[in-house]
Subunit: 215 residues, 2 copies
DNA sequence: ACTTTTCAATCAATCGTTTGATTAACTTTG
DNA sequence: CAAAGTTAATCAAACGATTGATTGAAAAGT
């Protein structure tokens, strides 16, 4: 039973990811997690050593999945910088909406002051995404395609922050938008295309008309 | 000693607000809070009834302060809609940077699934801000000042989300921007003006050039 | 004299973790 | 192939530590 063991561990990780996202790390007790997963409480420590180890295991699993998905848009030569930005937005949103619970858990952990092994690894992972975006924008500026008075890092904060606000504060955003933001179907069918459309227009306006005072 | 009592309660609220922001509600024990505040643990229950009551008291205090600050930009007739947006951004950022810990605490609470009295009140408070912004944008659209194909609610998510990302994930944003985001002096001197400048340009580009395909 | 505030001590409950026994699965051996 | 032996997985029970909260008495204030 080598296969089933992996399946069971994966199932625990799935459940724990969701429970951590819903209750936060401190608010999610090991009894709650094991109960939701339908396994004995001792199995968590048997498989992952500790609660912290469980968190780390969740992160490691997603990280290896992520690294397989990274596509170096920046190194492509044949397309315009704006097209690269469009591709980045598309890829970013697609990636984010596939790990809803994980993303939520991740930013809850980042909001706390404590520095742990997990916190550092999260930071490193985010910086990968950030570096990729920076490269695209700076190239666009050098090419003269974008204006020169751009705040690249602020754009990243906008990109990441807009998504986080919508997904991580579902009580508010559901009320704003008129549909349940905790329902994955709504996220995929309604929010996702709307976000792509909006963010593309927003960044396009900023990147291409930022120095334009004609109006 | 009527005055000192209020002072001491206020001091506890100050400390608790910070500790909640740093550790989250579940991660902040009553012993830690009382220890940091330099008061006996039993004082928390004596003054606020329970840990939850303490959280509620923190919120109530800020709410009454907020309601005194609300200025109805929307109802002013003599200025352009764009000027109103500029005023809104200015007022929003000024307000946010005065309650750093509170804001952080607030969004940590919103990220959790549990629905409490506090959660509902937070939602109501945010909706006030949202409604005000909506009014300004819709007026601008009706006046023909802005394009008609705007996503107002997404703009709100951008406004709130950009700020949240910068302030609520200090580990990452400090690394991005090269200065310590947990230092209030840096926030006031460096981040605040940069954010105002950026958000103004970003929204201006989106509001005024959104339908422009000349480039 | 009386009320309010403060405190150390303690409460029951819950926390993450460990234990030792039991069961299941696989390997070795006769 | 089947019995014995070995390892891995699972479980109820309990561990010490910490949690939020309460107590009743002492201290301070009026």
């Amino acid at each position: 039973m080598e296969k089933e063991k992996t399946d069971k561990k994966d199932h625990i990780l799935d459940v724990a990811e969701r429970v951590f996202a819903e209750h936060g790390f401190d608010g999610a007790s090991t009894r709650l997690i094991s109960g939701e997963a339908g396994v004995n409480m001792a199995m968590l420590n048997y498989y992952f050593g500790s609660k912290e180890g469980l968190l780390l295991a969740i992160f490691e699993r997603r990280t290896t999945m992520f690294h397989g998905l990274i596509q170096n848009i920046g190194n492509t030569e044949s397309i315009s910088s704006w097209q690269k930005v469009e591709m980045y937005i598309e890829a970013y949103i697609n990636r984010m909406f596939n790990n809803n619970c994980f993303q939520k858990m991740l930013y809850q952990e980042l909001a706390l002051s404590r520095k742990t092994e997990v916190t550092d690894k999260i930071t490193q992972l985010l910086m990968l995404n950030i570096t990729e975006f920076r490269k695209i924008i700076h190239e666009g500026i050098e090419r003269g395609e974008f204006g020169s008075d751009l705040d690249t890092d602020m754009m990243i904060a906008t990109l990441f922050g807009t998504k986080n606000f919508l997904v991580n504060t579902p009580h508010v955003s559901s009320l704003m938008f008129g549909f349940d933001m905790t329902d994955q179907a709504n996220l995929d069918d309604k929010l996702k295309p709307r976000m792509k459309n909006y963010l593309t227009k927003l960044l396009k306006a900023y990147l291409l008309h930022e120095n334009d005072n004609s109006k």
